[in-house]
Every structure is written in structure tokens, then in C-alpha cells.
């Protein structure tokens, strides 16, 4: 029982950055734009969080700064992919490389410095009385709680509101949405920026909560795993939560298997999350071979008004 409890807690702490990034990606991709820049945006979010928190010591200022940087990066991404209609795969890769390089440069002065505990925990000792579940939720930090709220809010937004309907329509068939009077370009700008903010917060969460030291390239592929998560979750926020914790647990599994005394070389244990990503993608591809993938139908196709397809 103790081990299940520890694994769940570890899965949540390791999965929360993935969850934020996946939610941001879902918002962007639902509007019909491919989001491959998560790795770079997360790194920029993390380095911004590190620099501002070390210099100001204020969590509010830090989160505002992360939002600010993410808005700027989101605008660049939106300008390239919506206004210039550039190839969205190239745009995404450019954002990743740009974020990785710039964050490494900006992070030089704080590289390796420990960041003090920034995000307070929401202690609710009375919750511990609830059997099993209570202990997990009694001492989580505010950002984790925010991610829970966000999952529900985004789910309601996408599936239960007329704004969400517009979002889905825009992602499936922007021409029809346009005819309905939905301002496709303006809204795509909006969703790319909103999604980028969430991905920036994913980086901030990674740095402020999960591993409070800035290191060059500290996301180590988490942005890419978030991209894969969106596909596993079939662009659904609630499924994204389950998938994120699943991967969070895998991330922590390697050391636990080592501690059981297994003879599997630790190099292989380190590969677990990445191998599972490939296996799950293969399995889903096989299982859903006759079904639509759930992806927005116009994903990756730049929308040009009055263009015939």
C-alpha cells in the first residue's frame, strides 16, 4: 500500500509539468495549429522562472514574467504559422531550437544555483482522515492544484461551451467556421498565445516545484513527451491528465526498479519512458487502424480564406 501511495505521489509530481505542457498543446492543436515547440517554450519558461525568482523572490512576479515571455514567443509562433502560413512543423522545430539556445544563454549566470522553495504547499491536514486518497491530496502545492482545476475548466470549455464549439469547428474545418462568422485568424492567435502560456508554466513548474536548479536543457525531452501525450490523449484534457501521470510514474520507475535489486542495466531503465512512448504509439496505431485518430481534421493546414482545396 505504501508503495502504491509513493508511486502515485511521485507520478503526480513528475507528471504535472507534462500535464501543463499537454494542456497548452491541446488548446493550440484544437485550433488547427501543430505545436512542436513545447520543448523550447518549456525551457524558456523554466529559465525565466529561475532568473526572476532568484532576483525578485516573488512568486507572483515570477509567474507574470513567465506569462510575458510565453506571450511574446506565442506571438512569434502565431505570426509565422497563422499570418505567414509557414510550414507548421518547421515553425515548431524553430521554436524548440530557439528556446533551447536562448535559454542556455540567458541561464548562464544562474546555472547550477539552487532556487529556494517558491510554490507554497496547500496543507490540509484534515484531508488525511480520508482513507488512502486523502494522504495524496493533503500536501500538494498550489501549481498542482491549479493543474487539476485547469483540466476540468478546459474540458468544460472545449466540450460544453459555444466558444469551445467554435474552437473545435476551427480546427476541423476553418473555412466553414469562417462562413459561420468565427474570426479564425484572430482566434488562432489567441489560442496559440494561451497555449504557449500554459507550456511556459509547465517549464516554470518543472523548475520551481520539481527540480529547483536551472541546468542547460533541463527538460530532457519532456516537451516532446508532451507532444506524444496529446496524441495518446486524443486531444482531450481529462485523458491528458491520466496519460501525464502514467508517464510521470514511468519517469520515476527506473530508480525504483534499481532499488529492488534488479540486474537490468540502469542505462536501459533510463530509456523506459521513451520506449513506452514508442510502444504506446504503435499499440494505439494498431488498435485504431480503422478509426479516426481524433485529431483536428485541419491540423497543420494553413487556412487561406477563399482558397479551394
Amino acid at each position: 500500500m505504501e508503495i502504491v501511495y509513493q508511486m502515485l505521489l511521485a507520478a503526480i509530481s513528475s507528471g504535472t509539468p507534462l500535464l501543463f505542457a499537454a494542456l497548452g498543446g491541446i488548446l493550440i492543436e484544437r485550433s488547427g495549429i501543430i505545436q512542436l515547440g513545447a520543448e523550447g517554450l518549456m525551457l524558456m519558461g523554466a529559465v525565466t522562472a529561475c532568473l526572476t525568482f532568484i532576483h525578485t523572490g516573488s512568486l507572483t512576479v515570477t509567474l507574470l514574467a513567465v506569462c510575458g515571455i510565453s506571450i511574446v514567443l506565442g506571438m512569434i509562433h502565431a505570426f509565422l504559422s497563422v499570418s505567414l502560413r509557414a510550414n507548421q512543423i518547421v515553425c515548431g522545430l524553430a521554436m524548440t531550437l530557439f528556446g533551447a539556445g536562448l535559454s542556455a544563454y540567458l541561464g548562464k549566470p544562474v546555472s547550477g544555483l539552487p532556487v529556494p522553495r517558491a510554490v507554497p504547499k496547500l496543507d490540509m491536514p484534515w484531508l488525511e482522515a480520508v482513507p488512502f486518497i486523502g494522504r495524496i491530496f493533503a500536501h500538494l502545492d498550489y501549481l498542482t492544484w491549479f493543474s487539476f482545476v485547469l483540466v476540468i475548466a478546459l474540458h468544460m470549455f472545449i466540450h460544453k461551451t459555444s466558444w469551445g464549439l467554435h474552437l473545435r469547428a476551427m480546427g476541423d474545418n476553418p473555412a466553414t467556421a469562417d462562413v459561420m462568422g468565427i474570426p479564425v485568424h484572430a482566434l488562432r492567435y489567441g489560442y496559440i498565445i494561451a497555449g504557449s502560456i500554459l507550456i511556459g508554466i509547465a517549464g516554470a513548474d518543472l523548475l520551481l516545484v520539481y527540480s529547483p536548479t536551472w541546468t542547460e536543457g533541463m527538460t530532457t525531452g519532456r516537451g516532446w513527451i508532451a507532444v506524444a501525450l496529446i496524441i495518446f490523449a486524443r486531444w482531450n484534457p481529462v485523458r491528458a491528465l491520466i496519460c501525464a501521470y502514467f508517464f510521470g510514474a514511468l519517469d520515476m520507475l527506473g530508480f525504483r526498479i534499481q532499488l529492488i535489486g534488479s540486474e537490468i542495466p540502469s542505462y536501459f531503465l533510463k530509456m523506459i519512458p521513451y520506449i513506452v512512448t514508442i510502444l504506446v504509439l504503435m499499440f494505439l496505431g494498431w488498435r485504431n487502424r480503422n478509426k479516426p485518430s481524433g485529431s483536428p481534421e485541419a491540423l497543420g493546414v494553413p487556412y487561406i480564406r477563399e482558397q479551394r482545396f
Binding site: Q6, L84, R85, M95, L97, V110, P114, L259
Partner: protein
Amino acid sequence: MKHRKKAVAASAAFLLALVFVISGCSSSKTNHVSNNSTKTPAETAAGNAAAETTAKLPRVAFVYIGPPGDGGWTFEHDKGRLFMEEKLGIKADTVENVPESADAERIITELAQNHDIIFTTSFGYMDYTLNVAKKFPDVKFLHTAGYKTNDNMGTFFGKNYDASYLSGIAAGKMTKKNVIGYVGAFPIPEVIYNINAFMLGVQSVNPEAKVSVVWTNTWYDPTTERQAAVSLLDKGADVLLAYQDSPATLQAAAERGAMAGGNDSDMTRFAPEAYLTNPIWNWGPYYTKTVQSVIDGTWKSEQYSGSLADGMVDIAPLGPNVPEEVRTLVNDTKTKLINGEISVFTGPIKDAAGAVKVEAGKTLTLEEILVMDWFVSGVDGTIPK
């Protein structure tokens, strides 16, 4: 018309991407070699004329595995560099975050073209340093912790297992649950003999305690180090030690109310209340001495091994929450180690499977210690074959 527009847009995006890539690449490495001690044209002209009369100061470079801000391994090397610079009035160049891959050989080659002494400060640079050393016979190379040498390449390291033994005494005294965790970087002799020395230290004061080991397969990656530490804490460890370059283990332990130490440097400032102690390095005097001997022309390739006695190896001051009794015990044992009254690897020592590895009364030689590939009994972990 539309196609043309599309093409323009696509090429604009591509150009932008290219700019990003270039800015990304250039930001990571180039700016380090900027404060090169190479001379201005005027100085060179003057230098050529005066070369015979004044001794020319050697141009020194350091290759680092992590950033000097890591608070551990590279931090100490950088402190040593500053010490040497101050003593000798030399401005050395540094390149940080150099991976232990073919990249290292490229960077060392670049440095060799305009430097006289190059310190490569990580075990994994060994073969790359040797390859470059063979190509540049006039440049002196000094490699940390390795075992390969050349006429112009020496090695330097220290008997840090003595300090690990002392940390073990502190850990053995401080553990209440008798479960101690050890975050190891790589399953190589350097880490293995330190874990063994630590275990022997623990057992000398607390025969009941066990040490669990996990491998991270990285010298410097705070995220992974923290994950490893958390998995040990979840297993029930109440004292942790890490043979890693960052204080991530100490920070993770502090959050859970456990005690911990890191490696390489005094880490008290990262979590004073949770700090135990750990082995530390003091490279400054060695760097100064080595560069001085090159200036004097007396330098010879050697395998230098520092110790508690000469101060290259030491143990960090024990944390404020360690009781006085433990401090005294650690200090007394340190004196005995320096005097040679006791030594760490003196038998009887059994390995984890129970086979006698060192018979009673025998002591392992330095050569035997440097190739150690087995755990002493009481260590719970696996060494990949």
C-alpha cells in the same frame, strides 16, 4: 500567384528558423574562449623582442564538465583556478559544460592550438585528452582521475576514500533507521571505492546500518539526481550521500527532514539544517604548483595523488545539527588516518556475497583500490558487468 506567396512565406520562415538555430548554437559555447589570454598585436611585437629576457607566462586553459555554479565538482575546480590565477598573476581560459564525447576532443584540440597547459577535469575526458596530447607534444595536459599518461600528459587526483570513510562515520552515527542511501554517478572504480570506504566508515560505528545504492549514469543532472534521492527516501533512508556534482540530493533530503551530504565541496549553505558533511577537494595549491613547475621548466609527467595529509582531500565541516560527540570522533579518526595509525581498506573485508576480499592484517595497495569492482558486505546495490 498564391504559390509564390506561399513560397515567400515559407522561405521567410526558413530564414527565421536559421537565425534561431545560429543564435542557439553560438550562445552555448563560443563566448567562453573570449577572455583569451592571447596578447594584443602590440604585446606580441614587444613580446617577441623581449622573449629572451622576461619569462613568458604560460597560457592555461581548463575544460569543465558542468558550470562553475554547480556548487560541487566544477565549482571547486573553478575555485582552484582562481587561486592559481591570483598566486601567479595568470588569466586562464575556461570552457564549461563540455560533454564527455567527441565534442571534448574537438574542444581540447581547439584549446591546444593556443595554450601551453590544459587541465581536463573529468574522468571521461581521458581518451580524448590522450589523443590530443599525442598530436600536440609541446602542450602540457593534466587530466583528473584517469590512469592514462603520456610524456606531455599527467594525471592528478586524491585519495578521497579517506574522506568518504570519515563521512561514513558521521552517517553511521546520525542514522536512526539504519537505512542509508547513496546516489552514485557511474559504476566505475572511483565511485565504487568511495561507496565501500563510506560503508566501512558506517560499519566502524554502526554495524547494523545498511547502505542502498542507485546509479544515475550522469555526473551532473540535478533533475535525475533528485529523482534518485527521492526514490531512496521513499525506501526509508534517513541519511543520504551523493557522489554527484550538484547539491540536488541534499535539497531533496532537506525537504523530507532527512540528513544528507553531497560531494566535492562544502554544501552547508544549500540546506544548513539537513547538512551532514562530505568529502571535499582543494585543487588550488596543486594547480599553482603545477603551473609554476612548467614556468620553471621542471615539469614532468606524473600521476599525482593528493591526500588528507597534503590537504588536496578533506572533509567539509560537519553540519550545525551534528552533535559534538560525532565531531570529535570524526576529527580523531582523521588524525589517525593522517598519521597512518589506521587505513581504510585493511582486512578483514568481505564482499557483498560474503567472500573474503581482504584477509585480516592485509591492506589493499593503491593500485588494487583504483581498480575495485566489488561492493563490501552491507552495501545493497548492483554493479553492471
